[in-house]
Symmetry: C2
Subunit: 420 residues, 2 copies
Amino acid sequence: MTTTIATTVQERLERAHDAARGVGLLPDAAKADALRAIADAIEAATPQIVAANADDLARGRENGLSDGLLDRLRLDAARVAALASAVRDVAALPDPVGRVLEERTLPNGVALQKVSVPFGVVGSIYEARPNVTVDIAALALRSGNAVVLRGGTAAQSTNAALVDVMRDALAEFGVDPEAIQTVDDFGRDGAHALMQARGLVDVLVPRGSAELIETVVTQSAVPVIETGAGVVHIVLDSSAPLEWAEQIVVNAKVQRPSVCNAVETVLVLRDAAERLIPPVAAALQDAGVTIHGDDEVRALVADALPATDADWATEHMSLDLSMRVVDDLDEALAHIRRYSTHHTESIVTADDARAERFLAEVDSAVVMANASTRFTDGGEFGFGAEVGISTQKLHARGPMGLPELTSTKWLARGSGQIRA
Amino acid sequence: MTTTIATTVQERLERAHDAARGVGLLPDAAKADALRAIADAIEAATPQIVAANADDLARGRENGLSDGLLDRLRLDAARVAALASAVRDVAALPDPVGRVLEERTLPNGVALQKVSVPFGVVGSIYEARPNVTVDIAALALRSGNAVVLRGGTAAQSTNAALVDVMRDALAEFGVDPEAIQTVDDFGRDGAHALMQARGLVDVLVPRGSAELIETVVTQSAVPVIETGAGVVHIVLDSSAPLEWAEQIVVNAKVQRPSVCNAVETVLVLRDAAERLIPPVAAALQDAGVTIHGDDEVRALVADALPATDADWATEHMSLDLSMRVVDDLDEALAHIRRYSTHHTESIVTADDARAERFLAEVDSAVVMANASTRFTDGGEFGFGAEVGISTQKLHARGPMGLPELTSTKWLARGSGQIRA
């Protein structure tokens, strides 16, 4: 069976909107089984998906994509199997729809319930990696939503193949395939239509570079959940135990430097600088980290580069780390206020009062004491899947699981009550 | 004491942002007492407020404002006392900040807590009625937020007087007066700056006409909570008891026709049309309602006007009501999908299965069976105060109380844990 996708953007958005009704009313088991059917279909279509991916890779090479980007773009049989496996993991999660979040009976006898419902249509605008195509579609469907995808042009052939396979699998399973749409083939017009589709698309989740997210946030008339960059800080307090300081900073920088929860700047209180900076810096340098330090740091660390003003605001995404000595906790908090992207910050301290002050005063999605910033992650938090890490304050903040892809509605059951 | 407000929009937004930190950390009692100080100050300043209002009224008369608008604009001593009393009611509400919404301990021992925190800075763009100035400021402060106000030019002198009184009261009480800002004196530039103030303003709540809300939603780069218009429907099912049908429809239309939860369209299933329409229409007409009906309705109701296509999409805000006969529940649901603004819909029925189908399938903020749509209200829901009624699906949906003016953050307390 091959499903036929509509020819205009508007028609695709309308079909997604219509399909959302049916998908939103599916029972738990039907949604889970539909996802398992998609996973099976993806595995069965491995040759076609890898072939489509080869086209993208060839075009990428012609266009001079870096080896790193080509690797992010590449799908081989093992990676396709991993995609299918991720879909099965999402299928196994509990249904986020239909939870009763609040209940109250009014004095007049009207029974109120606030229940979780699907958003309706989730849109996503994202970049290179084709796994996002499958991830977002699976998460949206598991939470009873239709989805409209706009992936990067670099992965266009792969994404088209994946969308075809998923739509066909839905149709074969008996779910309206119009619940999965792509607007990739309309280029910038597709992205623009998606951002202006108020009334047809209920929420947009951009994923990718800071520039992409900034564009979507500022241009979209559809409500956006911002998943932002991480200029993440760790503060080493006067009382920080050396062992914790060393292992937390190294882990937060080195374990996976290219992700948003990796630390970018370490702030060391002056009265601990001589005790902590030389061994922490040595451990970092042993792990291949280049330190960008202020004058006081450079006096203590051989081979540290001078930190520029730009460094403090930079998400390095690499084995580079900015380090600064501050007078006290006040100055550390002021530095964080100025440069943080409000993703994750952590303090290393043996002083409970200072830890609690830091937890109370830092205005970030996740604020930690004595733990690696790498824990800001839906999987680590036990959500079973991650939609993204929200850095905005509306609707969702921090790692988002399936429940964050639902809205609510109030149900009122009466017996003829009227307002006095 | 007289506080001095900054001279530029940017400076005011920055001062609000800075003040938000202190306000956000105030304990419950301090926030409540600060509001009581504001209420006292408003009452004490009654003569100045009424005098400023007289200027607005005089200008309004010159500009040809209708009697209705002039009445909405007018503040006399009794209305000022009511403003102060509303502030005291907000002071008496429980603190929405610091609630622990979720707790979990990771296998590695890191203790996670999701707690409610203030947004930071709440912006509001609204129209004529000066009571919104005080309402929004009180609700924002009670939930630990700073506030930036942009009221209608018609109420400019009144709003300026109210903002002065509230700022002075805060300063006298020992809370940073910069937590209350207005950008009224910058005209359209003020509204524009507020909508573009990402990073300084955390959320915008527009209140007013559909045009105003549409403008803010489409132009704002700051996240918006949309409080929308209500094209509200009541369906009279085949099995609807006449008494319920009559009292619910009359109450929903007549009790207060100018508000968003008043009914605009009644859809009657054909097999109940002859039984229900004549008595329901008579009761409505006795209460002064003009019925706009389709042909079948007009055959049953003397003096019904013909309903135009525009009627189905119109929020009358008056004693006008559109009425249509539909084939069955499917057609009623299709009509609602096409014309509803997703605010509130209700069905009158004695058939539980149909009630549950309606509750499940209608995609509105509040869906009712056998109750008046006038119950969609923060006060009626028992929230103690109402920030507005959200018709969007992100963050808040339906009547919003103080908790909807908070965001969340995750706190993580560890003892040196790193990610494996």
